[in-house]
Amino acid sequence: MAPPEVAGRNGQALLQLRDVHASYGPIRALHGVSVSVPSGSIVALLGANGAGKTTTLRAVSGMVKTQGRISFDGRDITNGRPEEVARLGIAHVPSGRGTMTQLTVWENLQMGAYMRRDRGAIKRDFDRVTGYFPWIRERRQQVAVTLSGGEQQMLAIGRALMMRPRLLLLDEPSLGLAPLIVRQIFEIIATINREEKLSTLVVEQNANLALKIAAHAYVLEVGRIVLEGSASELARHESVRKSYLGD
């Protein structure tokens, strides 16, 4: 059972994409994508390489030119500047994690809190993040380039949490990581969502894991949504099982 939808300010989902088109120069990457993320839930965006998953997230953050309408909490953010979209409360963990490799672990987290002035609350959020990722505490002075891929992914999620976001965008958190680490990271994403009601849109090739933690999911193929439904429905759906679950 999917959790009940919690409506945003205007009775809409927290994040809503309607008929979004996007292109990189002459190459069109999205052909009318509509996705919505209800407040408090995890939504998964599945699809093969090059289906347009990353582009969808980049469209939300204003990192690619788009047509259509993207709204966040009822506010139109279509083609917003990435820094202004971030300031509205959207934390985007990009594909490849966006680690600030020459900075220390602690400086990476500080950058997450860049927009905030509330020192006390920032300290509490650091404790919260190290609650999820205890290894960070002892290694805060370490330069981030020395971290493993899994640790960098955790640090990237930690940096996003330091923003105190209202929406978390995760681009392929499993990329290049060992299965055990991937499972651990997905468990933490589920825990964060459960404990903090943090709305999350996660893009994944690993449909199996994504469908386990998501309430709702979409399947993208060459820039179009070809399937959507509750995660449990999709996990049973024959074409999804064939194409993405390796059955």
């Binding site: 990435p82 820094e83 985007h92 966006g98 020459q102 900075l103 927009m115």
Partner: protein
């Protein structure tokens, strides 16, 4: 060799090293200004010296009331700070004004070229070089002006080596700027954001950093540090629109020698260059004319042998 070493005295060598370090400290402040912009946008700002020269004219105008042609037309020449410490007050106002002008230059001239190839930006800074030089020449003319003096014109003698207050003062100011920069980039949130914005622009924007303004801030800080450099050098060489050109070459040599991304490297490089040039000027026959070629030689050799410079990290960016 006999010829070279004839009349060699150890005290004289120490004296050369001391005055070389004084000259080097002037190159250091301009090199620090270069490093600030290089770190922000990977561009060598060829207009750095001219910007510093113009800032110095602002200080000169405030202190002495000579606003040049513009002042004559608008009738406010002669208006000046007639108080004790006018040199310092005028200089501080000029440094602050330069900070604002640096930001303005970035917004008006550099911003339109965001994302343009580096060569385009280099050409823009070359254009800025001749524009600022022309404006100063147009307004104040190409005659030498005296603009003096931040420090007492005397010296202390320690064991036969004289340390003059100007050199000591310049070295002191340079160290203060270096320390302030180090503290700013290491311990303040804004300094951290400026570093992050230049190294990881995309990740920085995704956490809400207005990277474009970080760049403007870099230009502002650079212009302010450059202003200090001009104000320190003017009393030594006299004020004229071309006064910073050789200083700029030596500052480039210093920044390249020390590592153009490293503030400490720039200062170390500048002191070494100041000392080397003083020694070459004294002990090589005709050496005083070899200073400029020697600076170029240093740039070329460092770029060949150790492109990251003495204290620069070998290229690890853009991974």
């Amino acid at each position: 060799m006999d010829l070279l070493l004839a009349g060699f005295s150890f005290t004289a060598l120490i004296q050369q090293i001391v005055s070389g370090a004084g000259a080097g400290a002037v190159y250091a402040t301009l090199a620090l200004a270069l490093v600030l912009i290089y770190r922000a946008m990977d561009v060598a700002n060829f207009a750095q010296g001219e910007m510093a020269m113009f800032s110095t004219y602002i200080a000169y105008a405030l202190v002495g009331g000579d606003f040049g042609l513009v002042g004559a037309k608008l009738g406010f020449n002669g208006v000046h700070l007639g108080v004790a410490g006018a040199f310092w007050i005028g200089s501080i106002v000029a440094v602050v004004a330069s900070f604002g002008l640096g930001i303005l230059i970035e917004r008006v001239l550099i911003r339109p070229f965001e994302g343009a190839p580096l060569l385009t930006l280099v050409i823009v800074t070359l254009g800025l070089f001749s524009m600022v030089n022309g404006l100063a020449g147009f307004n104040w003319g190409y005659v030498f002006k005296t603009f003096c003096c931040p420090f007492p014109q005397s010296a202390v003698n320690v064991g036969g080596v004289s340390f003059n207050y100007t050199d000591l003062g310049i070295i002191g100011v340079t160290m203060i700027i270096l320390a302030a920069m180090a503290l700013f980039f290491r311990y303040t949130k804004l300094g951290l954001a400026m570093r992050a914005a230049s190294l990881y622009p995309e990740s920085s924007r995704l956490v809400g950093v207005r990277t474009s303004w970080m760049l403007a801030l870099g230009w502002g800080l650079s212009a302010a540090v450059g202003a200090v450099s001009g104000i320190l050098v003017a009393p030594v060489v006299f004020l004229d629109p071309n006064m910073m050109q050789s200083v700029l070459l030596f500052a480039f040599a210093a920044a390249v020698l020390g590592g153009i991304e490293s503030p400490l490297g720039a200062v170390v490089g500048a002191l070494l260059i100041g000392i080397l040039l003083a020694v070459v000027g004294t002990y090589v026959p005709g050496g005083e004319n070899l200073r400029t070629p020697f600076a170029l030689l240093i740039i070329v050799v460092v770029l060949l042998v150790r492109p990251a410079g003495l204290l620069g990290r070998p290229e690890t960016r853009r991974v």
